[in-house]
Each structure stands twice: as structure tokens, then as C-alpha cells.
Assembly symmetry: none
Homo-oligomer: 165 residues x 2
Amino acid sequence: MVREGQITTRMSNIASNIENYLKHLLETAPGAVILLQRKELAALFQCVPSQINYVLSTRFIPEKGYLVESRRGGGGFLRIRKLELSREKAECLMTLQRELNREGLSLRELSGVIGRLVDAGLVTSREGRIMQEAIRPAICLVGETAVHRCRVAALAGMLAILFSE
Amino acid sequence: MVREGQITTRMSNIASNIENYLKHLLETAPGAVILLQRKELAALFQCVPSQINYVLSTRFIPEKGYLVESRRGGGGFLRIRKLELSREKAECLMTLQRELNREGLSLRELSGVIGRLVDAGLVTSREGRIMQEAIRPAICLVGETAVHRCRVAALAGMLAILFSE
DNA sequence: TAATCTATGGTCAGAGAAGGTCAAATTACA
DNA sequence: TGTAATTTGACCTTCTCTGACCATAGATTA
């Protein structure tokens, strides 16, 4: 459980080097967006490509204010975006997301987070319903294709909300 | 994931280049209809003719609001039309929802459905971004099993979207 | 008119080009 | 020394590109 500012010793592992490199790129990038290729980045740091995924999945997550998109196949890419948030918003977001990562968080509690956003006027009630639908547990999500099925179910539910108005 | 039209930068591949070219033509074409020949387009982009079919069948599909007609033989042609979908007609999209459970539906296709809703004015662009985030494959699911993490990741991503505005 | 020729576009399977996932092995740290 | 973070590679999925072969429309000719 490493927190910024507590690190006194080494930063000399590949993951941190890549992290720093990407953050530097993001700082100087117009729009705080960078576009790159996994294998090139891996080649640059002389590591296996999956190392890049490790870095992205541990350092460039929404909780930390980053959004990552990607595409496979020829012309594939990774796009990393740094969200530019005001101080208050960033803090509020942090708080909420810290809450999300607590262990054993129930669906009801997730749902509660959305409810509070609506109450606070940060999210319209319609947006709130869309989000509720997105996290509603879809029945029959057994097996390995669970994640994709989860997405399909979420989208189907969101469509239902949208069309019910 | 990637929603066409929101992309600001992209890795270059032939398919995307052709896609952009055609969309540009469509934007400036009276009646949102263009008429062209497969082999000429292929020659323009220095690719095999079937590449054109690939682009048409992956990017200019009804789900994304395009209609393609063609004719073979001498004087053959391709006609591509961008459909104007009125809000009233949007109930057609209900069919899409029925098709969401079709096997082999890719994330891009799911994403395309959302894009279509935005285009149709059924969904605000902000709502669209929320929804895109909800179906994006959580890149932070490494080594975890899955569905609940997926929901948490989706909500985290949606929060990030909401706070970035 | 029927047969044939020629100019198009269509289909499909396979190769190639990315990125994604998982779990075991290793390393760093408290 | 035990736990968490990192590193790696085998294997998977998705997207793109190509070419051989197919189908059709219109023009030409017998």
C-alpha cells in the first residue's frame, strides 16, 4: 500500500519508470491525452508487453484520475487521458472512489453512492437511473465470459431506462 | 472504448483512413448521399477492392445509421447514405436492444449503439460518455474475478466522467 | 433474341497485427 | 519471514488486410 510522499527509497523498477514516463508525456501533451502503442512502449523499456497492462491497471485507473482506452488489431493503440479536475472536485472524487474500493462493499452501498450524487445535484435523476442500471447485477452471469455479458446486460438495462421516458 | 467521431487522434490504418474520407464526403454531400466506385476508391487508397467492403461492413452499417446500396457490372457503383433518425423514429432502436444478446457482438458494436443514441438526440453527450464508460472493459480487472469488480470499475469510471466536467 | 464478353461489385477464409488475460515465479518490503 | 508488488511468458481475442474465386449488369455479337 504505497502512498505518494512516503516513498523514500528506490523508484527503480520498470513499472515506476514507465509510470513516470507516461505521466511526463501527459503533462506536456496538449489536451492531456496521449496515444501510443503497447509494443513500442514495451520495446522502449525492454520489457514484455503485458508489463504495460500491469502499469496501466495499477497506476492509470479512474480512481487516480486517468481514463484508458484501447484498440486491438492493425493500427491498434492505447490512449491515456488525464482528467483535469478542480481541487474540490478532485477531492470529492477521491473520497467517493476510496469508498468504492473498500472490501466487501455491497450493491446497496454502491447504489447509495449514486443516490448521494443525485441528491447533491451532481447527477440528474435520469443519469442516476442510468448508472443504477449499469451496476445492477445481471442474473445468469456465470462463467468466464462474465465481463462481456456484464457489459451487454448493463447496456441493455440502460437502454431500457432511456426508452422508458 | 472508441466511439467514432469522438476520436481526436488515432493510429493510422487504411480502414480508418477510408472511413474518415467517406464520412467527410458524406458531411459535405447534399442530401447526405454519396455515389462512388469500389475500384476507384481502392485505387485512391492503394488497397485491394475487398478492403472497401471491409470498411463498409464494419463502419457503415445500419446500426450506425448508414445505408449502403450497390450495383455490379458495367457502370456499377456504391451508394452510401447517412440516415437522419428522428427522435420519434427511435423506437426502431428497440430492436437493437433485442439484438444485444446476439453472440459475437463486439464491444465496438455495443459502443456504436450508444453513439447512435447520442446522434439521435435520445441521449445527451454526457449521458453517452457515462454509458461508454459503463461498458468499457475495465482495464483494472487483472487477476480478479470479475463481475462485482466489473461493476465497481464501471461506477468508478462513470464517476470520473461526471467529475471531469 | 440468345449467347457471349467485359466490367463491376461480393464473399470468404486465412494470414498478419495489434492488444488482453492469467497465473506462476520472482523480488521488495515491513 | 510472510505479504504485497512486480515481472514474465504462454495463450487468447479482436481487428485489419489480402487474394482467390463468385455473381451480376450491361454491351456486343452471332
